[in-house]
Symmetry: C2
Subunit: 414 residues, 2 copies
């Protein structure tokens, strides 16, 4: 715990200096990090090999693949850092300014959050991604990776610190928790004096542990139980393309469709062909008796299925009476991530986008677009399904707060 | 607990309807509430008298005064509701809109937070203030007041529900926890399924209990240990006016000055007269040996004094070497509320406003302006000293979230 405080305190103190670095200085840091990663490619692979050997027999092949750094993955990592340098710097942007009767001039200005603690698992490139996004947005960052990548993460962290130090700047704007047990995570979550925000990236278990134990505000995603709702006026060809894409284009991601709702007025016309196409594509269908009429091989649905995100080749399907039932079901069972309606009725779409409580609400598009790059943010640190602070893809801007800078001329309160 | 769930669930269900009410409907509700409060003036006073009798001998006179509703206070309460009706409706405002390469049109739109749980103490007018701000911003609200005002709070809540019901709308957009013990507060804080945000208003004890036990995101103020820093280039007459006003204009509030920092280069010139004026005004001075040279009757300072918000006629004074020490002290000891520099040096002021980590940073003005009315927000539900979501005065806009409404034309992810 004492050691944890010391690590946090170092980052905190350096962060106040970082808040004064201009955009060019921050970009210089990022370019230096990218160069140094490339220069140390062989060494990174050598150290990464230790983690891979340690993981053999303990982790699945898929997990070991996520852990492995190759030449091309290292090059991509460096390229990612350079792309962050290219992004607009949100810090210092005046969001709004106005003058009040007392004479004061008030500016609402983007400012860094401060120190961000990122707790993550498995993929070591997160170390570099997260550090570069935090530096560009003026935030100090304390990194805590998983045990399976500890050697690789430490090597990347040391490269980052060296790159910063060689520029004559304070290397402690990036810190590293060199301890992989849960107790260290717990200790980190108590450091509200030094850490402003915690971002967990990884399994549901990790997020749950963080949300339960953190004394520090958390930005987290609760995953996506995303719906596509085909309303009775929908262009059914378009609906078919969207339903198929949202489900099948990539099943393992949080913005993939898990639930399909269809108005009963068009169910007979739409569902037989839609379900056949999905089944032919290798997707299993879960549904109640009504759905079982439209296709064979439908897995009987339980109530829990309507609330379950599978991230797999499964789609739960339900016929609804009208848009009101669709909205109620989405608000009851959704996870506030991404929800889509296919419709031609402008008024129904207005009601849907207003009443559906989610970070991203689509009309006539696939839910798969909820993504920092697709939104034009250039990079993302995650997707928020919370309502405070920021919803949807978290880009650089969402890694900042707003503060009021008030210019007076001797004003006092009457 | 079951009863708590039922109460929360009713508000949650009504809130989805509220999200579709237009501005006129919400204003109609507010005007009806204001009218009904005035019509029921005598009844409100009669019920309020019960709370006052119950409080006699248990609460201080000051507390009983806060509890008491008079004709003029009831009139002010109704007037406050009408003022909220006059404010701009933040809901539905398009914050930003852009088009991305895929063809999607993305709008970032202000949306209600959902259900806000407000836990408060003592003053019954909070019941009406908070309900009207939540309704106007499209949020359902669950009210839990303190035991000392339970009868008055219940009467006001019933008036609010009647006013809504008479308009043929869903009265359950406002809910009331008719149970005053801590266990009920604890139960309320577990209802993350039904409540989106908790706002505690009251004592530090209440806030601490809420922050420790809530499973729901909290917007809270940690109070204000506010600094005024007189930099060496300051206009000393202006500095004197600001220091005096920030301290003395009203001592019991969170935006009052608690700490005075003065550059050593001007201490000899500035402090003797400044301290005398404060002492003559009835303010006690706390300081180290350096400060004790400048006035008699200086109370010796402990380290704790520099971190303490007294909300009383005390000012802790410290001489600093330069603006860097001032910034470091403010960031170490401040509560991120309101901080002010008096200076003529533009570069120093730029560094101060950038590096000082607070919701509101002033140049050449009193800290006492941190207030929803003074900022032109028209009303406030509190002051945030957090960094996520919103900092500074919380007006109607800060009671909303932003969501992405994405208009497609059949777009699917490649």
């Amino acid at each position: 715990m004492e050691n944890m405080q010391a690590v946090c305190c170092k980052v905190r103190n350096a962060t106040y200096k970082l808040s004064l670095y201009d955009t060019k200085t921050k970009n210089d840091i990022l370019m230096a990090i990218a160069d140094k990663i490339e220069q140390n490619k062989e060494n990174i692979k050598k150290i990464n090999a230790i983690d891979i050997v340690n993981a053999k027999g303990k982790l699945s092949d898929a997990m070991i693949d996520r852990l492995t750094l190759t030449d091309s993955r290292i090059a991509l990592m460096a390229e990612g850092v350079r792309q962050v340098a290219d992004l607009d710097d949100p810090v210092g942007k005046v969001v709004r300014q106005w003058k009040v009767d007392s004479g004061l001039e008030i500016k609402k200005v983007r400012a860094p959050l401060g120190v961000i603690g990122v707790i993550y698992e498995s993929r070591p490139n997160v170390t570099v991604d997260v550090a570069s996004l935090c530096i560009k947005s003026g935030n100090g960052v304390l990194l805590k990776g998983g045990k399976e990548a500890i050697n690789t993460n430490r090597a990347l962290f040391e490269i980052i610190q060296e790159a910063i130090e060689e520029l004559g700047l304070d290397k402690d704007i990036v810190g590293f928790v060199d301890n992989v047990d849960r107790q260290a995570t717990f200790d980190m979550l108590q450091q509200a004096k030094y850490i402003d925000v915690i971002i967990p990236r990884g399994s549901d278990n990790l997020k749950k542990f963080v949300l339960t134990n953190s004394q520090i505000p958390v930005i987290a995603s609760s995953g996506g139980n995303c719906h596509v709702y085909v309303e009775k006026t929908a262009n059914l060809d378009m609906a078919k393309r969207i339903v198929y894409n949202a489900k099948m284009q990539r099943v393992s991601v949080c913005n993939a469709e898990e639930q399909l709702l269809v108005d009963e007025a068009i169910a007979d016309k739409f569902l037989p062909d839609m379900l056949k196409t999905l089944l032919d594509g290798g997707c299993k269908i879960i549904g109640d008796e009504t759905i079982q009429k439209y296709a064979s091989d439908v897995i009987p649905a339980t109530e829990e299925d309507y609330r379950t995100e599978r991230e797999d080749y499964f789609l739960t399907v339900k016929v609804v009476k009208d848009y009101k039932e669709a909205i109620d079901r989405i608000n009851a069972n959704g996870t506030k991530h991404s929800e889509s309606i296919v419709s031609k009725d402008e008024e129904v779409m207005r009601i849907f986008t207003t009443a559906v409580d989610a970070g991203c609400v689509y009309t006539n598009a696939s839910t798969r677009f909820t993504d920092g790059f697709e939104f034009g943010f250039g990079a993302e640190i995650g997707i928020s399904t919370q309502k405070l602070h920021a919803r949807g893809p978290l880009g650089l801007e969402q890694l900042t707060s707003e503060k009021y800078v008030v210019t007076g001329h001797g004003e006092i309160r009457k």
